[in-house]
């Protein structure tokens, strides 16, 4: 039998979004994977050229919708950098806490989807039950469950709801017990480990060369956490360890994200009781005009290094905005990781890469 060419997606139960993969198979072994992108391309970067600096943040929530606070944070940071705005302490604390909550929510969904891809369907429901609590907290404070648009240049849009601190603390206590359940159900399961270990390995050099970031690169040993390398807001004042593994296979990526969930909870615990009083938004002009020049700022989303690059001509709308999305580079490593593995492994690898296709296609 010659080479079999199969299309996985764009509509498929296990590609996380509309991803079209053209796979060349030899029997059950994958010989080549070619992602075809663009099925959810919405010309976000072009749209931003006609939106003001306060408006374009709304669109970025819809890119990597699982890390929407963090995306908004990146945009707010770059505008603040351009306008030299000093963000009040209270706003910084709130932004970091919301970021970490979003990271937790994103990893919860990743965990459920990962287990479902590998075949265990029940953890998906458990993950969503936990995630609902975070969504409810977000709804109470920010007004929305998925695309929050709460972080604006200068700080936050509104102040925290009075119940916020208590609910977050209750959630942390609740979720810690659940994480050990997750370990029992999935991490220590021999079938799961057999599916994930030594599957989809990538070496440190290749991870750097493909531009991988986030948990994908950290699982291969690359030290690349933006929160440590170029800290923003209060990240320089909190203590947390970067989760680094050596093997670079699916199980290492899994372990990195589980550790990251623990670290996120640690960060929230350090900050939640010490939110200073004060302003939640710096005084800024109503219409923001960035001076002529280019500005760049990057943050660590749940998927990796997300960067916003603005070229401004001095007007109210940018001349060009470019988003450096983590998913795009992580996806480019998929071909390298999947060669020589079986189809079943391909699904496990895609799950462990944690791709959100709207982030890649923009």
């Amino acid at each position: 039998m010659g080479d079999l060419i199969i299309n996985v997606g764009p509509q498929h139960p296990s590609t996380h979004g509309v991803l079209h993969l053209v796979i060349t198979l030899n029997g059950e072994t994958v010989k080549k994977v070619e992602p075809h992108l663009g099925y959810i391309h919405r010309s976000i970067e072009k749209m931003c050229e006609s939106l003001t600096y306060r408006q374009f943040i709304y669109v970025t929530s819809r890119m990597d919708y699982l890390s929407s606070h963090i995306n908004n944070h990146a945009c707010a940071l770059v505008v603040e950098k351009g306008l030299q705005i000093e963000v009040p302490q209270r706003a910084q604390y709130i932004r970091v806490i919301l970021d970490e909550l979003t990271r937790l929510a994103s990893h919860q969904l990743w965990w459920g989807a990962m287990a479902m891809d590998v075949g265990a369907i029940t953890p998906f429901f458990h993950a969503f039950r936990e995630r609902e609590i975070i969504n409810d907290i977000m709804e109470q404070t920010c007004g929305a469950r998925l695309t929050m648009n709460f972080i604006v240049p200068g700080g936050c849009m509104y102040d925290l709801h009075p119940d916020f601190v208590k609910r977050v603390k209750d959630f942390i206590v609740f979720f810690k017990s659940k994480l050990s359940e997750y370990d029992e159900m999935v991490t220590n399961n021999p079938i799961f480990q057999a599916r994930m270990q030594n599957v989809g390995s990538i070496t440190k050099e290749n991870a750097i060369s493909y531009g991988c970031s986030g948990p994908v690169a950290r699982a291969a040993g690359v030290v690349c956490d933006v929160r440590k390398l170029s800290p923003y807001d209060v990240y320089s004042q909190v203590e947390f360890t970067e989760a680094i593994e050596k093997e670079g296979d699916c199980f290492a990526r899994y372990k990195v994200r589980m550790k990251e969930m623990n670290e996120s909870m640690r960060i929230i615990e350090q900050l939640i009781d010490n939110i200073p009083e004060g302003e939640f938004q710096a005084k800024t002009k109503a219409v923001l005009k960035l001076p002529k020049g280019d500005f760049y700022s990057n943050v660590e989303t749940a998927r990796g290094d997300f960067g916003v690059y603005i070229i401004s001509e001095g007007g109210t709308t940018p001349y060009r905005i470019k988003f450096r999305s983590p998913g795009f580079c992580n996806l480019s490593a998929l071909d390298h990781m999947a060669r020589g593995n079986k189809i079943g492994d391909l699904v496990a690898i895609m799950g462990s890469l944690d791709l959100v296709i709207p982030d890649i296609d923009r």
């Binding site: 059950e28 479902m116 265990a120 369907i121 998906f124 458990h126 399961n189 079938i191």
Partner: protein, 337 residues
């Protein structure tokens, strides 16, 4: 023995009805069991607490358009679900549902069961091939390899019980469990056989964690992707009835079938246990095993096809063969209860 044609027809209709009812009940049970394990409720709108759900589904499948893909081999495409169905139906004959309720007590009962259960592989391969679809073909190939491999382990586990009993006849096997179920009387080797049997039949019926052939997250539906309407209903029904049958066989061989729970010659205790009707014992044991198999599906992730075959050929088969040897020694020396 069935004597006249009329009696044959009536019993045949009974078997078909039982088949249909079992299918309905098992599908509903699966949906409810899976729902409760996943912190949700399952079907609860159609009928009282959702019990008419499967009936509604059956009616839907009956009125659905049965589409045959363009390049499909029409004859094989239409024949495949029937072969799978027939394999399941034929196995209803030698299983005793209660005391004195066995349709056909042939002297090679166990051999008949192992032989007929191999027929459905042909149906699956036919379905995959004739669908003219790469995904179906992949699924059918995987499924064929898997079923053929695990039949060996299941066969070895069954044989170890036959050794203890000394007869292939099902009524003899059940009668020999009058002093206690083989799972307890045969202690260690019987326990090993039982575990191997449960694993092997989960694989034979293409259930998770061995459901690579119909892995929803990869191949959509494997070998029955292209089937719709009544033909799909036949596959679906045949799968669930197969689960019932293999659990019934497990219950008969290891857990005593319709024989109540007796302990040696404690006549008083045994007499008490006999008050519970034998059909309740049989269905209770079978449904317990069915529940365990459903439990597996919603707990474990899926094994990859090569890991699956590895498990069988490198682990289960050698352990099964060694266990057979152990069981033979125990039977000869009389070291069982």
């Amino acid at each position: 023995m069935l004597t006249s044609l009329v009696e044959l027809t009536i019993v045949g209709i009974f078997v078909l009805t039982l088949f249909a009812v079992l299918g309905l009940v098992l599908v509903f049970m699966e949906r409810k069991v899976s729902a409760y394990m996943q912190i949700r409720l399952g079907p609860n709108r159609v009928g009282y607490k959702g019990m008419a759900q499967t009936l509604a589904d059956t009616i839907k499948l009956l009125v659905k358009e049965g589409l045959t893909p363009d390049g499909a081999d029409k004859f094989l495409f239409n024949l495949a679900p029937f072969i799978v169905m027939i394999g399941a139906m034929l196995l209803m004959a030698p299983i005793p549902f209660a005391k004195n309720s066995q349709i056909w007590d042939l002297n090679i009962g166990v051999l008949y069961i192992t032989a007929v259960s191999s027929i459905s592989v042909i149906g699956i391969l036919m379905a995959g091939w004739s669908s003219n679809n790469k995904y179906s073909l992949l699924g059918a190939m995987r499924s064929g390899a898997q079923i053929v491999s695990y039949e060996l382990s299941a066969g070895l586990a069954i044989i170890s019980i036959v050794i203890l009993t000394g007869s292939l006849k099902i009524s003899d096997i059940i009668a020999s469990q009058e002093t206690g179920w083989w799972l307890f009387k045969g202690h260690i080797p019987a326990l090993i056989s039982f575990v191997i049997f449960i694993i092997a039949v989960t694989a034979e019926t293409n259930r998770a964690p061995f459901d690579m052939a119909e892995a929803e997250s990869e191949l959509t539906a494997g070998f029955h992707t292209e089937y719709s309407g009544m033909k799909f209903a036949l596959f679906f029904l045949a799968e669930y009835v197969n689960i019932f049958i293999v659990c019934a066989i497990g219950a008969t061989l290891f857990l005593g079938g319709w024989m109540p729970f007796h302990i040696g010659n404690w006549a008083g205790f045994n007499h008490l246990m006999d008050f519970i009707p034998s059909s309740i014992w049989f269905f209770g044991k079978t449904f317990f095993l069915i529940f365990v198999i459903m439990w597996f599906r919603w707990t474990f992730p899926r094994l990859r096809i090569d890991q699956l075959l590895n498990l069988e050929w490198k682990y289960l088969l050698p352990i099964g063969m060694f266990n057979l040897l152990l069981m033979t020694i125990i039977a000869i020396m009389g070291w069982h209860f």
